[in-house]
Every structure is written in structure tokens, then in C-alpha cells.
Symmetry: C2
């Protein structure tokens, strides 16, 4: 099972933001869209420059107080973004998320952002798989 299977259900839409936008605007977008992270893109070719998660926001507030909300997203975002590709297996994804304690991995194909997979998507996908396995087993028992 690959990342492609998750994206085929979830779609390729990713909410992005530019690094010059203020943190308080980013907070509003996260709350409105009910999502946990924004991919930060920069330049005419919209390259992935970073990722801004709820965790990054809480850490900035802890370090610098409410003033952090006036800072630019580019100042607070995580710069070293770990990404994945459509052909990565879900197991590899899980390993990367567990090791790095990430909850979101941007999906990049030939330098282009084509999706965002969250840890919630991974668990949802695994639930679907388990249901499939149990149906297959039931079918087998009924027809054997």
C-alpha cells in the first residue's frame, strides 16, 4: 500500500501559505479550515520552504509569548521538512512519522507539491484496510 492510495481518497488539495504572512493570519486559516498544518511555499515556482504546525505555534508562544502572533510565518515554521512521494509505502510513512514525531508529511513529485498526508489519514487508511481484511476472511469462511 502506497501514499498514492491515501491521496486517491483524500485528494491532492493542500492549503499553502507564504512565509511573509503573519502568524495570527495563519492561526485563523488553521482554525477556519479545521486543519493541523500549513505547507509554506515561496517563490514563483512555489517550492516547499517549510511547514507550520500547531506544535510550532505552541512552541513559539512558549518561547516568545503572545508577540509571536505578530511574527512572520517564515520565522516560526519548521524549515527542515521531511517529505514523501506517491510511491512510498504507508509503512515507510509510518516509520518516518514515528521517528521524527511528525504528524504531517507533504507529498512531493518531481519538485512539485501534490498532497499532504496527516497521521490521521494514516490511521483512517489502516482502519479501512482492517475492514477489508475482515470482510475477505468472512467471505472465505462463508464460501469455503
Amino acid at each position: 500500500m502506497t501514499v498514492k492510495a491515501i491521496l486517491s481518497r483524500k485528494g491532492n488539495d493542500v492549503i499553502t501559505i507564504e512565509p511573509t504572512v503573519t502568524m495570527s493570519a495563519a492561526v485563523n486559516i488553521l482554525a477556519e479550515r479545521r486543519i493541523g498544518a500549513l505547507v509554506v511555499v515561496a517563490g514563483a515556482d512555489k517550492q516547499v520552504a517549510g511547514i507550520l504546525s500547531e506544535r510550532d505555534i505552541v512552541r513559539a508562544l512558549a518561547q516568545r509569548g503572545p508577540g509571536a502572533l505578530q511574527e512572520a510565518v517564515g520565522h516560526v515554521m519548521t524549515r527542515r521538512v521531511v517529505t514523501c512521494t506517491e510511491s512510498d509505502t504507508v509503512a515507510a510513512l509510518m516509520e518516518r512519522m514515528t521517528q521524527g514525531k511528525f504528524r504531517h508529511l507533504p507529498v512531493v513529485e518531481r519538485g512539485e507539491l501534490v498532497g499532504l498526508v496527516s497521521i490521521g489519514d494514516v490511521v483512517k487508511h489502516r482502519l479501512g484496510e482492517m475492514e477489508h481484511e475482515s470482510n475477505a476472511l468472512r467471505e472465505y469462511i462463508l464460501t469455503a
Copy 2:
């Protein structure tokens, strides 16, 4: 596989907070402990009164601005806490997390808080299971 298996690895420690503490103190604890949620307990018997996650903090900031950091945790926390017990299966846990979009479930046994399971714990556990399955298969092939 049950919640008990996850707790046997992770331990029973839960970082709790009281509802009267300020949000800015809660933000500091989350950042220091590198965790994503605090269980809010109240009264002499320390009953679970709510849960405060990074998401609750971001939403409060979006709704009420930086002033939300001066509010009491009890004002911002999620009150309707979905919990689980040690005997719940990991599959049931995954379903509850997916349906409610929760990333943390307090584990309660006979009214007492005995642990906290995060979505990261679930994925880590599943990785361990997969490794176990693949080792068992390798063993089988080598000895068959």
C-alpha cells in the same frame, strides 16, 4: 491487541493540569514536555474534567486573539472528553480517533485516570506489530 499493550510500553504517566491555571502556563508545559495535550483534572478525587490540546489553543487564539493566553484552561479545554479503557482494542481506539478527529484519548479504569494514548502511540504500536508479523513470516519461510 488492546490499549493495555500500548500502556505497558509507554507507561501510565499522564501530565495533568488544573482548570484554574492560565493558558500561557499550559502552553509552557506543553512545549517543555514536548507533548500535544494535557488532561485537565479537578476536585480532590482528580476526576477528568476536560482535555486541552494544541488544537484547542489554536482555535481559542483564532477566536479571541492573544488575550486567550490569559484565560483559564477550564474556559478553553474540550469538556466532552472521549475516553477508553485498558481492555479496548487498538482497532476500537483507531475508530474513535478517526470519527471524532481526536489525537489523544485518556485511559480511565473505574473512574481513575491510568494513562493517555496518542495517535502517535497507535501508529508506533502498529509499526511494531508489522515488524513482528514480518519476522514471523521470515521465520516460517526459513524453517518450513
